[in-house]
């Protein structure tokens, strides 16, 4: 197994970046297809013969059972091919006791008469057209018997328990340290249930050829979905080919898969014809997964001069009855600030709500909304600048484990951001700056998000035209995977970017874990680099052993790859010529990456600092962001453009978390009330104003052979807290119950007699 020290010591073409492909603002590889509407997403894939269309029906109760079913009218409806409920759905693999993210297991659909959450899929109607399927679905008669339900999180805090297999982590003696601290913060923050709201709803096109299934679907993890689907259908893994070429947003919500994939596969087998099934926008809200709500108690103790002596964040959150997901909102605090006495942990409540799961920066996205505001409150109590308070408490080594940092440039992010943003213009006294009717305020917060590397494989092929084809069972969920793989290939093999093809999103390609946890680029890219290095070696061996090559007899380790030409000093030929002579059918090399044996010796994270200017109308309670700047340190950046896009996208989501986003639960029905994008408010263009993200020059040689890290989840971490802090600076109001909507700002203002 490789060592971090080897990665650090060994040069490679990505590190050397001679052609300059790495880091460049390269346009998206698949961009022209997407903007011209010619990138087929899963539902748009044209199957080999005309498809049938499925429409799913969702349970209108949160808990109970189906008591009566009448499908006669639906079955007799024009064009209807089949109607399935739990009574007649095909047999599927059994649901495991608990799911986890990385172990494939069956996900049976329509499995019993039991309803576990509002919006659970309980029937499917397949017809020759979408319209006939919808008309048929309207004729299915289902009766339900509702059982008493527990759906309001705040009513069940007393049932909260340790998540299975977890315990609190205490360093030093928190309670004593806190009690003895001369300056204290002790407050509670609440974050709401949130939905991913991907542009592309979950959707599948499926067909069979004999016992071989081909499915195009929209998921983040190819191999996981392929294997789990095969186990659901009770067929060998190899009988399922799963493709997900283009994914219109995942954000964690497509880490698993849903009934569209299972039911389209089953119905296509039953009918002997391709079948398409998609979730509606309303079905996405309940029928997939969400980020659960949290209640977080943060306690900070400090000396008069601002040194933290005690720090605690305790999170209570919820998941569904059958789930085991915990929103680990406290975890990030374990690695952020120095404090000798520390207590962090989680409590979990099980509710009759839809399935809780990962959503962009699970943990950090919710947790920074409390701690990073508490730091602002503490700074005010101390009479300190909130950035200086953070810098004062910058730890020399990981504050929990004592491990050295692989690299940590949090302070530099803050200092650079402060300078570029004009932080020195912030008046520490709230409510002092006006722009017409708007009260203006500045706020900042730190960002942190972990760094991960998972096992992955890749293959590179060079053909007789000198074109490199990258193959990997990886996904691009809008992040830029296609593009960065092309850049790595171009740089590694010394060919122009235009001579690289990228094939991903197919279970027949070398497996990679997929997109999630901001591990995609590092994981997939490192495997790609290895494949590229192996292909270089294979090419070099052929060249020095080919008497027809000008490179014949030379030292293979001296060969350079540049502009499609291979050379040893002044002896050279085109790569394509060598391949045409020796391997006209093409030459392939495989590569892989695994986590280094000694990787756990270092504390490895990505960092950033957010700066926000908001305007608050103190008459109406409205808050609008005017300016946002994020400065980030996330290892070597592969592509300035796609990385920046992910970071700013995360920052925008932070604005949504602070100001507008959240699903509210109606206790009577156990359902979410805002079920579409007019009711679930994500930020729109007009909400954002000026926005920029700066990426510091950084290399984290201990992260992986390329020294890169992820950026997909860093941008959201802390962004909402900076907004909340800016609101306080603008108008002197703290709202600790997110989102900070006008009604809450007004109530706080009125409580102050304003």
């Amino acid at each position: 197994m490789s060592s971090v020290l080897d990665w650090e010591a060994t040069p490679n073409p990505v590190k050397e970046n001679r052609a300059g492909n790495i880091g460049k603002a390269v346009d998206r590889y698949e961009g022209p297809l997407k903007v011209t509407g010619t990138a087929p997403y899963a539902y748009e894939v044209e199957p080999p013969s005309p498809p049938d269309y499925g429409v799913m029906l969702s349970a209108p109760i949160a808990k109970g059972r189906i008591t009566a079913i009448d499908t006669k009218a639906a079955e007799a409806s024009p064009g209807v091919q089949l109607v399935w409920t739990y009574k007649n759905a095909p047999k599927q693999g059994p649901r495991p006791e608990r799911y986890d993210f990385f172990t494939p297991s069956p996900r049976p659909a329509l499995e019993s008469d039991q309803v576990y959450y509002f919006g659970q899929q309980v029937a499917v109607v397949v017809a020759d057209t979408l319209e006939n399927a919808q008309a048929g679905a309207a004729l299915v008669e289902l009766s339900f018997e509702a059982a008493p339900q527990s759906v309001i999180f705040s009513d069940h805090y007393d049932e909260a328990d340790q998540p299975p297999g977890e315990s609190d982590i205490e360093i030093g003696d928190f309670e004593t340290g806190f009690a003895e601290a001369p300056v204290q913060i002790d407050d509670i923050w609440r974050t709401p249930l949130q939905n991913h709201c991907q542009m592309e709803p979950c959707a599948t096109t499926a067909w069979w050829d004999g016992d071989q299934l081909t499915v195009h679907t929209s998921v983040q993890m190819v191999r996981f979905a392929q294997n789990s689907l095969a186990e659901t259908l009770m067929v060998p893994h190899k009988n399922v080919r799963l493709l997900t070429r283009y994914v219109g947003g995942g954000f964690g919500g497509k880490g698993s898969f849903y009934e569209d994939l299972v039911l389209a596969s089953l119905a296509a087998r039953e009918l002997g014809r391709p079948v398409k099934i998609a979730f509606s926008r309303q079905q996405m809200m309940h029928g997939t997964v969400h980020r659960p709500a949290t209640e977080q108690r943060v306690r900070l103790g400090a000396t008069e001069d601002g040194h933290l002596t005690a720090m605690s964040i305790m999170t209570t959150t919820h998941c569904d009855r059958r789930g085991n997901f915990t929103e680990h909102a406290s975890n990030f605090a374990r690695n952020l600030y120095a404090a000798p006495n520390r207590l962090t942990g989680h409590r979990l409540v099980r509710l009759d709500l839809p399935v809780a799961s990962a959503m962009r920066a699970p943990g950090e996205a919710s947790g920074t909304l409390s701690l990073e505001v508490a730091m602002d409150e503490l700074a005010e109590k101390l009479g300190m600048d909130p950035m200086e308070l953070r810098i004062l408490n910058e730890p020399p080594t990981d504050p929990e484990t004592g491990k050295p940092f692989s690299i940590r440039q949090l302070v530099r992010c803050m200092r650079e951001g402060a300078q570029q943003f004009g932080w020195d213009r912030r008046n520490p006294k709230p409510g002092q700056v006006r722009d017409g009717r708007w009260h203006m305020g500045l706020g900042m917060a730190a960002a942190i998000r972990g760094n991960f590397l998972l096992p992955a494989k890749a293959s590179f092929t060079v053909d007789a035209d000198g074109v490199i084809t990258v193959k990997q069972g990886m996904t691009d969920i809008g992040t830029g995977t296609y593009t960065v793989l092309a850049q790595i290939a171009a740089e590694t093999l010394g060919v122009p970017l235009g001579d690289v093809r990228v094939e991903i999103g197919d279970s027949e390609l070398p497996p990679a874990p997929g997109s999630g946890g901001q591990f995609g680029a590092a994981t997939a890219g490192s495997a790609a680099l290895d494949a590229g290095m192996n292909l270089r070696k294979a090419i070099a061996e052929i060249a020095v052993n080919d008497q027809a090559s000008p490179l014949y007899g030379g030292p293979s380790e001296d060969i350079t790859f540049q502009d499609g030409v291979i050379a040893i000093s002044n002896r050279s030929e085109r790569l394509s010529e060598l391949i045409r002579r020796n391997r006209p059918e093409g030459l392939t090399a495989d590569g892989e990456v695994r986590p280094a044996a000694d990787a756990a010796k270092w504390s490895s994270h990505t960092y950033g600092a957010h700066f926000v200017e908001v305007a608050v109308d103190t008459v109406t309670g409205e808050v609008r962001t005017r300016r946002m700047l994020g400065v980030f340190a996330a290892g070597r950046i592969l592509n300035w453009k796609t990385a920046r896009s992910q970071l700013t996208g995360g920052m925008i989501w932070g604005v949504g978390s602070a100001l507008t986003e959240g699903n509210v639960v109606d206790a009577r029905y156990g359902s979410l009330i805002n079920q579409d994008l007019a009711g679930y408010l994500v930020p729109v263009q007009a909400d954002i104003g000026e926005l920029d993200a700066i990426m510091l020059d950084e290399v984290d040689d201990k992260a992986n052979p390329m020294g890169i890290k992820g950026v997909g989840e860093l941008g959201i971490s802390g962004a909402g807290a900076a907004v909340a802090n800016a609101i306080y600076n603008a108008c002197g109001v703290r709202v600790r119950d997110y989102p900070i909507t006008p009604d809450k700002v007004l109530a706080a203002l009125e409580a102050q007699g304003r």
Partner: protein, 323 residues
């Protein structure tokens, strides 16, 4: 979506005739609201009569010095009209605060007036709603009704009318022209178009079945400043939490009732020399809260005086004296 038939009307009279004679028919023009509701099976017409191409999209001067806005004039077209912008700025401001650019390009003046509530319980067919399914009850009454009515609600419905445009038109004292099944045209004040929910929240307006709105007529602009202010959770494409249109001494409120709300008490108080704060307090004497929407009373209490002051100061700046 349920199957339906479709015809494109040749002229207004035949459109009205078809609507009167065909059971369960609806007019469609921009379709920005109706088609969404049909997809969700909240509206289930079996026949659509497309009036969107009828030649009623013009904006013309009236003999009285006002403007006659054809029912098929798109929201974007009206908002951009130079005469509207200079003489009725409150209307332009209201229109551009509604929907999104794409929606306003398709939505028509008549359709905007007839759009349906954004109440979440109306949109969720798994919930009771007297407006959608008469007699099923009101899901919002004891539900998550943060954005419900504070004026004129009933025990059967606490939904609000979502139009911004209509609020400005009501403040401007507009009237609406309709073509009736009898073949006759009639005209009446726009503030009398929409009804309060009472026992029949499924009926949004006083139009008789088959009646087609053909135009909205604006009287000459009243003396005094105009302004539209809309308070909302996000800066665009978001329903109002409360809005106010000021046109001289005329005040209308949005997102607070089942109809655009002419603040008659406030107007009377202003006319009698009350301060803006006193005037809106007089109006709010009739307001009531339903569970979670109480903040809207405070919001209106704060918003309206600020808007009146702003309209007055805009007017004074332009005319060199306080109106």
């Amino acid at each position: 979506m349920r199957p339906f038939t479709y015809e494109r009307a040749a002229d207004a009279a035949s459109a009205v005739k078809a609507a009167t004679e065909t059971p369960n028919a609806r007019f469609v023009a921009g379709g920005t609201n109706l088609l969404d509701l049909m997809k969700l099976e909240i509206e289930t017409p079996t026949h659509l009569i497309d009036v969107g191409r009828l030649p009623m999209a013009g904006i013309e001067e009236t003999a009285e010095g006002g403007l006659r806005i054809g029912a098929m004039a798109t929201n974007s077209h009206v908002a951009a009209d130079a005469r509207v912008r200079s003489r009725y700025p409150v209307l332009t401001q209201a229109i551009v605060s509604g929907g999104s650019g794409q929606l306003r390009n398709k939505a028509t003046t008549g359709g905007n007036l007839l759009q349906r509530t954004r109440c979440a319980y109306f949109y969720d067919t798994a919930k009771p709603c007297n407006k959608r399914a008469p007699g099923s009850g009101c899901g919002a009454l004891e539900g998550l009704n943060r954005n419900s009515a504070i004026f004129g609600a009933s025990h059967a419905c606490i939904a609000t009318h979502p139009s911004d445009m209509a609020v400005a038109m009501v403040a401007l004292g507009a009237s609406v022209e309709v073509l009736s099944p009898s073949g006759g045209a009639r005209s009446f004040p726009l503030m009398e178009l929409h009804r309060l929910p009472a026992e029949r929240p499924d009926v949004d307006t006083h139009l008789v079945p088959g009646e087609l709105i053909t135009a909205v007529v604006l009287p000459p602009p009243p003396k005094g400043g105009q302004i539209y202010r809309k308070v909302r959770d996000r800066a665009s494409y978001s329903a109002g939490l409360a809005s106010v249109a000021i046109a001289g001494g005329q005040v209308a409120l949005g997102a607070v009732a089942h109809k655009p709300w002419r603040a008659a008490e406030a107007e009377a108080a202003l006319g009698a020399g009350a301060s803006p704060a006193e005037a809106i307090a007089a109006e709010l004497a009739n307001a009531s809260e339903n569970g979670r929407n109480g903040f809207k009373i405070n919001l209106v209490r704060r918003l309206v005086p600020a808007a009146i002051e702003e309209a007055r100061s805009n007017w004074a700046e332009k005319n060199g004296s306080v109106a």
